[in-house]
């Protein structure tokens, strides 16, 4: 790819894509876009939402999703794992006897104990994703992480569990989760950011935390809603001239104002892009344009761009 810096992300051959970003960064649209791009290339993909009180995937595919993966589209499955389904999967993997699994899960003490136990929730959810990552039904797992700081709590849990538990099954699972997801050939975390100054700051701060954690490896950053570069320098001069004039027709006035606003955003955005390129390196920053339309239309447009990166 001989394009401008920041025009594509080199994904490598990762199985697991963790997507992280604040609300409004287009994280789910990008998750769906990546999934559709991979599916277009013949890959079988599972999109995972985590404990979403209102899952986003139905906005893109219609229908409903629940804790068990179900078909959403051609070669695309989706699910919204919740704590109890993840817990069931975890207990089943440790206790092979079905009847006992039921006994454990039904017990009120166990339920409350686990709901409230620090870190148990996060570790069990991560364990579920870890299981998916071995499942031969899918070539790729796309994890649409929760929008808040909760995402980092999820990522931090396995390493904390290592410190807290000297041995035992939870410790073993924490080790397995870490070993698998820290491997850049297997998993990577991709940030979704908007090009404003504050969102870029936050992305860079979170990236540093992640590097310190060592899990998962940093995959790259999607810089979403990057304003077009549609006006040359000479044209920008013309815009300034027009903006300085009085009594422009209403449409001209608004069109010039909108164009100047975009340019102002471009200046901020291009500064942000430079900072991301410094931290992530070229080949790990991918710009996405501002796209109008419904959820699904936006995701489709994104998937067409990402298909070119694969």
């Amino acid at each position: 790819m001989s394009e401008a810096p920041g025009s594509a992300i080199r994904f490598g051959n990762r199985r697991v894509f963790f997507l992280s970003g604040k609300g409004g960064t287009g994280k789910t649209a990008i998750s769906v876009g990546v999934a559709r791009a991979l599916a277009r290339r013949g890959k079988r993909v599972l999109i995972v939402e985590i404990d979403a009180p209102r899952p986003n995937l139905p906005n893109y595919f219609g229908g409903q999703i629940d804790a068990q993966p179900r078909k959403l589209g051609k070669r695309i499955d989706g699910c919204n794992i919740d704590f109890y389904s993840a817990l069931r999967a975890y207990v089943e993997s440790v206790v092979p006897v079905k009847r006992i699994v039921g006994l454990i899960l039904k017990n009120r003490v166990v339920k409350i104990f686990l709901t409230a136990t620090p870190g148990a929730r996060e570790l069990v959810l991560m364990s579920r994703i870890w299981e998916f990552s071995w499942d031969p039904r899918w070539d790729h797992i796309i994890v649409d992480l929760p929008a808040s700081g909760h995402a980092m709590a999820l990522m931090r849990t396995p390493s904390l569990a290592k410190k807290t538990f000297a041995r035992g099954p939870l410790r073993k699972r924490a080790d397995e989760v870490m070993d698998r997801f820290r491997d850049p050939a297997v998993a990577g975390l991709f940030f979704c950011a908007l090009p404003g100054e504050m969102p870029i700051n936050e992305t860079l701060e979170t990236r540093e935390q992640l590097v310190e954690l060592g899990m998962p490896s940093v995959g790259g950053v999607f810089l979403n809603q990057y304003p077009d570069e549609s006006f040359s320098e000479e044209e920008q001069g013309l815009l300034d001239d027009l903006a300085a004039m009085d009594e422009a027709p209403r449409a001209v006035d608004a069109a010039v104002e909108a164009a100047i606003e975009t340019r102002r955003k471009q200046v901020i955005a291009s500064h942000g892009l430079d900072r991301l390129l410094d931290a992530f390196g070229d080949g790990y920053v991918g710009r996405l344009p501002v796209l109008p339309g419904t959820h699904s239309q936006v995701a489709d447009a994104i998937s067409l761009i990402i298909t070119e990166w694969l």
Binding site: F113, E197, A248, V252
Partner: protein, 398 residues
């Protein structure tokens, strides 16, 4: 807009003048912290002693208010910061950032019956874990801090910025969760008299507890259970204090004469969905909601294509002629520039029409009982008093 906008602004003004607590909720990236700050400034201008409690302020915003090291302590914003902006607060503005760990430690120190209990809790590894990793602990602590600030009597108004959406709901439920977490029966289960050499809890040798305990050990590890049991033992004495405070805060959050929730969102589809969801959550809990602030709304909605232009053109023949004349150039030479200008504007209008539709959608969803205040997108990022005042102008009307 018009009438609906003015009603919403009136409700917001009333809230900053009369209420004791304004809670800003919404998904991330919608300008919640900025909104909370501009509400705080307005309250100070109105003459109230107000504190803005934020979760994760952008550094520049904190810096611009002179809060280099915004921490778990309450700091007054220097009134000099407002000089040059044409406002003079009659009240006082304070700010603080909620530090979960520090607040948790404070609470333990306060409610621990003796030094030994205090040290045992602060030294317990599960405790460290809780205060660092349990996302819900953030909510417990927000609730604790709220209790402290409210009962201190130092402030007329508390403006609370909350974590993004999902956590905000946890926050509302934090009292209930806390009670469940600290449920006596669970604790006593763990703390049954122990036999043999094992630590507390690890020796439930009789009754149904035995089987469950052994299974738990098998599934989660015995070390882990021991830690938990020890934690419960250590915190047992703190229970009553926790519970009382949680109940107090829960009552405050439901009190319509004292509290007002403001749902902050943007016109983007995801944010709108979450705003609706949150609105329902508040209604179900019978909490004082029904007030929305829609930030970053588009400014070019409703522009029609030019009557004297080609299909889909917003700049018509007359506009194009005007531009050529204004720039003193030949229209032909400007063709591609004007084309790009027109195309760019067409896209701006399309995006902003999406915004306007979603605001209308929100208005009709919430019906006549709820109020929606629309704040147009500003051309620059907001990180100083001037910017906050501009936002305040839209939020409260002039």
């Amino acid at each position: 807009m018009g009438e609906g906008q003015r009603e919403a602004q009136a409700a917001l003004i009333q809230a900053v003048r009369e209420r004791k607590l304004v809670v800003c909720v919404g998904s991330g990236g919608v300008g919640k912290t900025t909104t909370a700050a501009s509400i705080g400034i307005r309250a100070a201008i109105e003459g109230r002693r107000v504190i803005v409690v934020t979760i994760d302020p952008a550094k520049r915003l904190a810096n611009s208010l002179g809060l280099e090291a915004l921490g778990n302590d309450e700091r007054e914003i220097d009134p000099a910061r407002f000089a040059g902006h044409g406002v003079e607060p009659k009240g006082a503005l304070f700010a603080m950032m909620l530090d979960t760990r520090a607040t948790f430690d404070e609470v333990i120190r306060k409610v621990a019956p003796d030094d030994e209990t205090r040290d045992r809790v602060l030294g317990n590894r599960i405790y460290t874990h809780i205060s660092d990793t349990l996302s819900a602990s953030h909510d417990y602590m927000a609730s604790e801090k709220l209790y402290d600030l409210y009962t201190s009597g130092k402030y007329d108004l508390i403006v609370l910025d909350t974590p993004p959406m999902k956590n905000a709901i946890d926050f509302l439920e934090a009292g209930g969760q806390l009670a469940r977490f600290l449920d006596d029966s669970i604790i006593s289960w763990f703390l049954q008299p122990h036999e043999g050499g094992r630590r507390v809890g690890a020796s439930l040798i009789s009754g149904t507890g035995t089987l469950v305990y052994r299974l738990l050990g098998r599934v989660f590890g015995n070390d882990f259970l021991d830690e938990i049991a020890e934690f419960f033992l250590a915190t047992k004495d703190l229970l009553e204090g926790f519970r009382e405070r949680a109940e107090f805060v829960s009552e405050l959050l439901h009190d319509r004469t004292k509290t007002r929730f403001v749902v902050v969102c943007t016109p983007r589809a995801v944010s709108m969905d979450e705003a609706r969801y949150f609105h329902r959550q508040l209604a179900e809990r019978d909490m004082p909601g029904g007030l929305f602030i829609v930030n970053q709304a588009g400014r070019y909605a409703g522009h029609a294509a030019a009557a004297d232009g080609g299909p889909g053109e917003y700049l018509g023949a007359a506009d194009r002629a005007w531009i050529a004349q204004a720039l003193g150039r030949d229209a032909g030479a400007l063709r591609s520039f004007i084309g790009r200008l027109d195309q760019h504007f067409e896209r701006s209008v399309a995006l902003d029409n999406d915004d306007a539709r979603s605001v209308e959608g929100l208005r009709s969803f919430v019906g006549s009982g709820a109020k929606v205040c629309v704040v147009p997108r500003l051309t620059t990022e907001v990180y100083d008093v001037g910017g906050l005042l501009t936002i305040g102008g839209h939020v409260f009307g002039e």
